[in-house]
Amino acid sequence: MRKAVVPLLAIAGLIFMTAPIIIVRAPYESTMGLVQKVFYFHMPPAMLMLVSAIFCGILSGVFLVKRRPVYDWMAYAAAELTVLYGAMAMVTGPLWARKAWGVWWVWDPRLTLSLLMWMVFVSYLLLRRYGGPGSEILAAGLALFGMATSPFVYLSVNIWRTIHPLTSVVPTLPVDFAFPLWYAFTGFLVLYIALMLLRMSVEQQRAMLDQLYLESEE
């Protein structure tokens, strides 16, 4: 598992080094101008955050049933990455919005849902850190409940008008915009995998350490 980390990090690094060049060469958007360029570093983390959240929820469910530690390690890593990528999306988004919409934040369904998901996973991390022994099981339950509540959050906020770009933006992207976007997206995705493997190996080593402590006690 560890072996794959360095090459993956190298690939991701390469993509991120070259992405700015590609992004600069992409055309400007007609109504938003320069600030639209934030999109290339906003949409991938935002999408990956939601994917990661769902991934963590699924892993938590599997862990609760199977109780094998590896699922717990993956869930923990996925939760941390959800918070990391979520933070990126939540910072780059308002920076873009300030110029494009004139406000830092609006309470529309998608933004509110993202914020709530992020908060659920922050509380997951707090629980794992400060909850004491047995908190991996509790955290798995929390992840499940967090996933269960997300359609309700979306539904309940949906009453109000949204000014987030409609979901038809990405499929209708002209190639000039699409290429830099998916290039950046690949970078974020490769980095996600690398970070997850790295994080999991920390947990794996910790488990070995605990095992060794027990042996040395005897």
Binding site: H42, V91, L166, L198, Q205, S216
Partner: protein, 84 residues
Amino acid sequence: MKIIYQSLFLLMNAALLAQPGQSEFKPVTEIPASEQLPSAPLVIAAYAFVWLAFLAYVWVIWRKLGKVEQDLNALSAQVMKKRP
């Protein structure tokens, strides 16, 4: 006839403009200079944050990993000593 076409055209545009939000990005190569300056700090801040966040996270994990491995090596040396 022409009037009908013109009014239909105007109506379609009105309908398009009246939609909430946008439904597609439109590429353009020139943008007026007045637009550029205020955006730059926002864009730079956005990219800088992403970079810094990644670097911070990788650094934190690397340190954790280093520490755990250190403990692991120390402990396994100890255990090796105990077992003849």
